[in-house]
Each structure stands twice: as structure tokens, then as C-alpha cells.
């Protein structure tokens, strides 16, 4: 083999890139597909099982309350505002703003968890009552785990930033975290519609 020749010197390329240029983004995207599929499968199961019932929720099971789940859903959507600010700060590599919005987002995600725990109570059924209960709980709980994961991730970033361990590469990671945040919150809207609204309409 003769001597290679340089056709491209990569030393000028950036090390920190955002969005679809970053690897983590694609990883996040992959896991969003996986989790989205999981939710879709659970939602399809919910609809599939629906066809076994004359009434849904079945006779003897009270329909889920609407208040807490709606508040919870709106809160999920509203939490995108601080998350957006966080992404902005991360893109601007503004360490101070990042810390501020990370704390805000951690509090928001704690709020999700609390609201979701209340929401479980307003399902008015247990997972072992009947197939309806199982389907409802499975979907709500699966999404709950996503919320918990997102909260854990945000919390981890908050701790890293507040304890002064942050590095530059964390900024794009935060942006990816916000992408996941948007996914986690928005994906609940169809689920919320399916669990709480659609049975009332039909």
C-alpha cells in the first residue's frame, strides 16, 4: 500500500454540536421510538380490549375522574416552558441560566410525579379488577416510568451542574434531555385523550 494522503483535516471540526448533529440525539431518538412503540402497543391493547366490552369502562367500574388527569396533562404541557428556557440556556452555554432552569425543571418533574400519583387514584379502578383496569394501569404506569426516568435524568444534570462538575459536552446533552422532555410530555396527550376523554364520548 502506498502512503495515504490527507484529503481532510478534521482538527477544525467542532467537538460540541447540537441537535441532529450530536450522537446522543440519535440515541435519544431511538429510545423514543422504542418507548413510543411500547405506549402504542399498550394503547392498541387498550382499544383491542375495549371491543370485548359493551360498556367501557365496564359495568360496575366507575369512569376515571377527569379533574386531576386534566390538570396533570395541562401541567405536563406547561412544563415545556421552563424546559424550553433550559434548552435555550444550554444552546447559549449560559451556565448560570442552565442551573436556574435545571432547578425549575426538576421541580416541575417532581410535580409530574406527585400529580401522576394522584392520578392513579382517580383512575377509580385497580389493575387486577378486570381487563379494563389492567389496560388503563399499564398505559398510565408505563408513562409514569418515562416521567420517572426523565425526572431522574434532569435531577442528575441538576446535581452535576450545582456541584460544579459540568463540562461543555453537557450542554448538548441537556438539549437532548429537553427533546426527550418534550416527547415524554406530549406523548401523554393522546394517551390522556384515550383514557379519560374517549370513553366519555363513545
Amino acid at each position: 500500500m502506498s502512503a495515504p494522503r490527507t484529503v481532510y483535516d478534521a482538527s477544525a471540526l467542532p467537538e460540541v454540536v447540537y441537535g441532529s448533529k450530536s450522537l446522543a440525539f440519535w440515541g435519544t431518538l431511538g429510545f423514543m421510538v422504542v418507548e413510543g412503540t411500547t405506549l402504542a402497543i399498550l394503547a392498541s391493547s387498550y382499544v383491542f380490549l375495549w371491543s370485548n366490552f359493551d360498556r367501557w369502562p365496564p359495568a360496575g367500574t366507575s369512569p376515571p375522574s377527569l379533574l386531576v388527569p386534566t390538570i396533570s396533562m395541562l401541567f405536563l404541557l406547561a412544563s415545556n416552558l421552563p424546559a424550553r428556557q433550559l434548552a435555550k440556556a444550554a444552546r447559549a452555554k449560559d451556565l448560570r441560566a442552565c442551573k436556574r432552569w435545571l432547578v425549575a425543571c426538576t421541580l416541575c418533574s417532581a410535580g409530574w410525579i406527585v400529580l401522576r400519583l394522584l392520578e392513579f387514584r382517580s383512575l377509580n379502578t385497580r389493575w387486577d379488577d378486570n381487563a379494563y383496569g389492567s389496560a388503563v394501569w399499564a398505559l398510565a404506569f408505563a408513562h409514569f416510568t418515562l416521567l420517572a426516568v426523565e425526572m431522574a435524568e434532569t435531577l442528575l444534570f441538576t446535581l452535576v451542574f450545582l456541584t460544579g462538575h459540568a463540562e461543555e459536552k453537557h450542554f448538548p446533552d441537556i438539549v437532548d434531555d429537553v427533546v426527550y422532555w418534550v416527547f415524554v410530555t406530549v406523548v401523554w396527550v393522546p394517551c390522556w385523550f384515550l383514557l379519560f376523554v374517549l370513553p366519555r364520548l363513545i
Binding site: D54, P58, A59, G60
Partner: protein, 657 residues
């Protein structure tokens, strides 16, 4: 149409208040008596028939008296109709028992009205009713019996071990009879080890023990006169019903519809206990005692050996159709009305077909058992809707026509008004929330099934109303000729039902269903309904927390008594349903209250407490409510009963101070 009734009732009261002063029957009663007397006294020669003609005359008088009490004045005056309820105070052999204020059989009279002509306790003074004394039976299972009163003695029969007590009117124990039934019988008694009462006739007491024996006991001494084994517990037969003694026969039916028995109704000779006839509910016509005299009203009941043909294979041999309810009798037509219980197993897929002759009613001649007609309330019963509920013999004017009718509140939730001469259904009206059927087609006599709730093996059908114990179970209703209302103690239960495979093993249950019951719409489980069969609507209705599992008792004082499972003995106004008086007993009440007048001239009311039965098994048998299929699913509806009452078994006797 409405006014005369009121007048009639008033007049009737007038007569009944002073019956002892009546020496001659009302002239307009003569034709009645002439008709009634031969039919009562008629029939073939009977060994027990040693009655003298003077006694016959007393019987005629008694019959006339009672007829006068209950009969509308205008009808009496016109003389073209029969008394609304044939006399209950005539012994089967024509001898009169003491006609005044006695209570000789659980149903009161033959018609099954449970109406007492006594009016000393009435709507205005009942609030002063006081406990006279109590007597502990020493047995803590469900007490469903009616205390009898005959000639100064109260007779009470307990659940298994079926002790029979004779108690003086001062509460002293006179004697005890212990039949010593086989203990194993408890294992084949489907719904608690109850007994529904003893019957008095001609100095003897007749009743059934749980292990399927009928005994005759001397009323004065408590000595056993005879004992007859009528069934076999090894194949699941028990007997819990109160027999009826009519025309020298003790009529007995078996229980065990949940055990795959073959139901029957048997007549024993009153004197000896020998079997006179036995009519099965399933099988060939010869076994069912269907002969040339059988003329059912509806065409589907006509044909040969339908008791075999409407079953797959030999299923009729284990097809249920027991007869454990109260029997009534019309002396005038000489017909016995005997309800037939559900077919077995519950899982109806095991028995395609109409499953004759179950879940219906037979009119039979008590002398030879031959069927006169039959009507099936629930062809191919899907929900354990027994047909054993009482058929109260009442004459009504319907659409301007006087009709000889039966009133039958069925488990399926319809109150049937039937022509008792033919078996024709005149009307069938829901008296409770129901969805298992969509109505009764009066042309065919068949209920219209709700296909959406049709069960099958491995499928769960939810929210079936009424539940397996029906809109009303065994608890007998009472008819007041004064108010022309039927007082129905009953329940408001629905159920989830899953058919499962049923295995027949002799002596073990044969059901094939998982059931879970719960309160019907409204959330209350008990109802007490005063039903107007003419207007076909309730005059009033009371709700109770638990099923009203006790019998009802209506009196000429326009007071209706009943008990609740949480232990209240209640007196309500017969016309309005207003609660007039209540007394908290030691345990829940599921028995049949009775009333009578003692030699001291005071009117007494007696009732047994002791919760149990199907609905009270959670307390009586200590069931575990974590398994909501317990007691055939009843437990799920009764989980909170132990918070309200405990076991008991005492006789309470009340009187005005």
C-alpha cells in the same frame, strides 16, 4: 270499583272482631258453604277420617266465618262470587280446630294469605307493643320457621338438628322432641340448614327433618307417632320445606336443586306416614302424574312425556325441579298449587330444551296427585329462577270480571296474576328492577329473554338483574283482603355470572356457575312492597339495607309485620307503609312472624330471630367474605352483614301491655 273495597274491608273487620258471637253464618254464605263443604270433605275414603258429622258442621261454620271476614260486602250481597280466600281454619279431615286466633300452619290459611283476622293490635296502638317473653332455641343457624299456636301452646321447630319445642303461653317449655337427624345431612343442604316450619292437624304436628324424613308428633305429649324416610341424603336430597296437610295427606317436597337431585312432591298418609303418591318434576308422564285430566293452558305444555323430551339424554334424572316452597290449596277446586324449583345444573348449556317440568307451577289434585295444569315461569331457566314462590289463592275482580286467581311474585321479577282454574296468565308485571327478561308474552306465556345477557360456559355476563335468588326468594308474602294488597318481602340484587363446567357426583353440588352478587340500582338490597295486583303497581314500597328475608304478616288491625336481617322486627301501616313500631332483636330475622290470640283474650305476635339462610350464611356459617363466590355468590352482596348482626336463635313473643 274502589269504594266498595274499602266498605267491604270495614264490614269484614266488623265481623271478625266478634266472631265468637256469630252463631249463624250470614245467609248469603250458604251457597258458598254448600259448595265448599263437599269439596273439603269429599274425595275417597281415608283411614284418618273418623270425624263425626257434628264436627263437620262446626267446620262449615268456621269456613263461613272466615269467608265473611275477608269478603267484600257487595260481592257477598250479590252472592255470585266465592269468598276471596277459602277458609284456612278447617282441618283437612273436616274437623274444625279451634277457630279463633290460632295459627296452625305456617301459611296461616290454605290460601297462603298469612292474614290474621285479629285486630286487637292495630295501627293506632301497635306502638305500645311490648316484649312478653323470649325463649332460646339453642340453635344458632338460620331460623326460617313460623311459630305455631294451637290451644295454648306455641310450637317451634329449629333448623338442624330440627328440635321441636312445645312452649306454653307463659314461655315455659312443655316438651322437646329430638328427631336426631343424620348429621351428614348438613353437608348437602345448599343454603344453610334451615327448616321452614311445622304444621298442626288433628292433634298432631307434622314436619320434615333435614335428612329427608317426615315425622308426626303428638301435639300433647311430644311423642313420635310415625316417621317416614322420604328422601336420600346420599344423592343430595334434603327436606327443608313446611309440609301441608290436606285431606288426610301430608304433602312434602324435597330440596337439593343445587345437588342434581330429581325433584318430587310426595303425599304421605296422615295417619301412617305411608306414601300415597309421588309426583316427580321430570321424567315420563307416569312419573310426573300427568294423566288424561291434565289440561295446561299453553300449547307448549301439551304433549307426551315432555319431562323427558325437553331434556338432552338422561339429564332429566338429575335435573332438579324440587319442591321446597310453600304449598297452597283451594278446597273449592280441590287443587293444590305447588311451585317447582329450578332445573339443574345452573349452567343451562348442560340441558338444552325447555326442561319441563321445572321452574313452574303445578295444580294437582291432592287426593291422587294428578296434575290439572302446569305453567312454566322460566322455560330453560338460565339464572336459578326457581318457581317455588308461593301462589296465594285470591279472588279478584279484573276488568269487571270476577276471577279465581293466584298471585305469584316470581323470582324472575314478575308478579303473575294467573287464573287458577286454567293456568292462564292474566298479567305479569315487574315488581322490581330487572333486565334478564324483556317482558312476558301473554299470548305464549313465555318470558322474552334478553339475548344480551345470555350466559354460556366460560363467558362472564355482568349485571344480570335480578340475581340468582331472584327478585324474591322463599320469603312468603301476605295478602290482606282488607287493603287488597299483597305485601311482598323481597330483595334488589343483581349479579355477574360465569358458566363453568358442571360435574355430577352424587351427593355433591351440581351447579356449574361462578356468581358474584351485588346490590341492584339504588344501592339498597332489600325491599318491602305493597303490591296492588289489580292496578299492577305498588301501593307503597320500603327499602331496607339488607334483603328482606323474613315472611310478612298482615292483620285485620291494618298492621303488617316483617323482620330485617339487621335485627329489627317492624310493624308498618298496611295502607301507607309508615313505620309504626320496631323492636331490635338479638340477631337478624329471616323467619315467618305469626299472630294469635291466647286464652286470656290477648293478641300476641311471635317471631324467631336467628340470621342465616342463603343470604345470612356469612354469619350463620361463618363464611369468609374474601371469596366473593362463597354461598353461590351471595356473600359478595352481604359482606357487611357481620357488622350488623351475629348469630342467634330465639323466639320473641310480643303483646300489648
Amino acid at each position: 270499583m274502589d269504594d266498595p273495597r274499602r266498605t267491604a274491608a270495614d264490614l269484614g273487620t266488623d265481623h271478625c272482631r266478634r266472631p265468637e258471637r256469630e252463631t249463624v253464618a250470614h245467609p248469603t254464605n250458604q251457597p258458598v258453604n254448600n259448595q265448599a263443604a263437599p269439596s273439603i270433605d269429599g274425595g275417597g275414603p281415608r283411614p284418618s277420617r273418623g270425624a263425626a258429622s257434628k264436627l263437620l258442621r262446626a267446620g262449615v261454620l268456621a269456613a263461613a266465618l272466615l269467608a265473611a271476614c275477608g269478603r267484600p260486602a257487595r260481592e257477598r250481597a250479590s252472592g255470585d262470587t266465592k269468598p276471596p280466600s277459602p277458609s284456612g281454619l278447617v282441618a283437612s279431615n273436616g274437623r274444625a280446630v279451634a277457630t279463633d286466633g290460632q295459627w296452625v300452619r305456617p301459611t296461616g290459611d290454605y290460601a297462603g294469605t298469612r292474614f290474621s283476622g285479629l285486630d286487637q293490635i292495630n295501627a293506632s296502638n301497635v306502638r305500645g307493643l311490648r316484649l312478653a317473653w323470649t325463649f332460646s332455641t339453642g340453635v344458632l343457624r338460620g331460623q326460617e320457621a313460623a311459630p305455631l299456636y294451637v290451644d295454648g301452646t306455641i310450637y317451634v321447630v329449629t333448623p338442624f338438628p330440627n328440635l321441636l319445642y312445645a312452649i306454653g303461653l307463659d314461655g315455659t317449655l312443655k316438651w322437646t322432641y329430638r328427631p336426631q337427624p343424620m348429621t351428614a345431612a348438613q353437608g348437602v343442604a345448599c343454603c344453610d340448614v334451615v327448616n321452614r316450619g311445622v304444621v298442626y292437624d288433628a292433634g298432631r304436628l307434622f314436619y320434615n327433618t333435614l335428612d329427608a324424613q317426615t315425622v308426626a308428633v303428638d301435639a300433647a305429649t311430644g311423642r313420635e307417632v310415625w316417621r317416614a324416610r322420604v328422601g336420600d341424603i346420599n344423592i343430595g336430597e334434603t327436606v327443608t320445606m313446611a309440609p301441608l296437610v290436606v285431606r288426610g295427606k301430608v304433602i312434602v317436597g324435597n330440596s337439593g336443586g343445587e345437588m342434581g337431585v330429581r325433584g318430587w312432591l310426595t303425599a304421605l298418609d296422615e295417619a301412617t306416614g305411608k306414601v300415597a303418591w309421588r309426583a316427580y318434576a321430570t321424567g315420563p308422564d307416569a312419573d310426573v302424574l300427568i294423566g288424561p285430566g291434565f289440561h295446561p293452558f299453553y300449547p307448549q305444555d301439551r304433549g307426551r312425556d315432555l319431562g323427558v323430551k325437553t331434556w338432552p339424554g338422561d339429564a332429566w334424572k338429575i335435573g332438579g325441579g324440587t319442591a321446597w316452597g310453600f304449598l297452597t290449596y283451594d278446597p273449592e277446586l280441590n287443587l293444590l298449587f305447588a311451585g317447582v324449583a329450578n332445573p339443574g345444573p345452573w349452567n343451562a348449556e348442560a340441558r338444552p330444551g325447555d326442561n319441563k317440568w321445572t321452574a313452574g307451577v303445578f295444580a294437582r289434585n291432592p287426593d291422587d296427585g294428578q296434575a290439572a295444569w302446569y305453567y312454566q315461569y322460566n322455560p330453560h331457566d338460565l339464572w336459578d329462577y326457581d318457581g317455588i314462590n308461593e301462589n296465594v289463592v285470591v279472588d279478584l275482580t279484573l276488568g269487571g270480571r270476577a276471577r279465581k286467581t293466584l298471585l305469584h311474585p316470581d323470582r324472575n321479577g314478575y308478579l303473575y296474576v294467573m287464573d287458577r282454574t286454567s293456568g292462564e296468565v292474566i298479567s305479569a308485571t315487574p315488581f322490581v328492577h330487572l333486565n334478564s327478561t324483556l317482558g312476558v308474552d301473554l299470548r305464549t306465556g313465555r318470558p322474552t329473554e334478553n339475548q344480551a345477557l345470555h350466559p354460556s360456559t366460560g363467558k362472564v355476563v355482568r349485571g344480570i338483574c335480578p340475581a340468582a335468588p331472584g327478585a324474591k326468594d322463599w320469603q312468603p308474602s301476605s295478602w290482606s283482603p282488607r287493603t287488597q294488597l299483597l305485601y311482598i318481602p323481597h330483595q334488589n340484587l343483581c349479579m355477574d355470572y360465569e358458566g363453568v363446567e358442571a360435574n355430577y357426583i352424587a351427593g355433591t353440588p351440581y351447579v356449574g356457575a361462578n356468581v358474584k352478587m351485588f346490590a341492584g340500582p339504588g344501592g339498597y338490597r332489600g325491599l318491602f312492597t305493597a303490591w296492588d295486583p289489580v292496578k299492577r303497581r305498588p301501593a307503597w314500597q320500603l327499602t331496607e339495607r339488607f334483603p328482606v328475608w323474613s315472611g310478612a304478616l298482615a292483620t285485620a288491625g291494618d298492621v303488617v309485620f316483617y323482620g330485617t336481617m339487621d335485627g329489627f322486627f317492624k310493624a308498618v301501616d298496611a295502607r301507607t307503609g309508615r313505620l309504626l313500631w320496631q323492636f331490635k332483636t338479638g340477631s337478624g330475622i329471616i323467619s315467618q312472624p305469626t299472630t294469635f290470640r291466647g286464652p286470656d283474650g290477648r293478641q300476641y305476635v311471635a317471631v324467631l330471630d336467628g340470621v342465616g339462610g342463603w343470604s345470612g350464611a356469612i354469619v350463620a356459617a361463618g363464611l369468609d367474605a374474601r371469596d366473593s363466590s362463597s354461598a353461590l355468590g351471595m356473600i359478595n352482596a352481604m359482606k357487611d352483614l357481620p357488622q350488623y348482626t351475629t348469630k342467634g336463635g330465639s323466639l320473641y313473643v310480643f303483646a300489648l301491655p
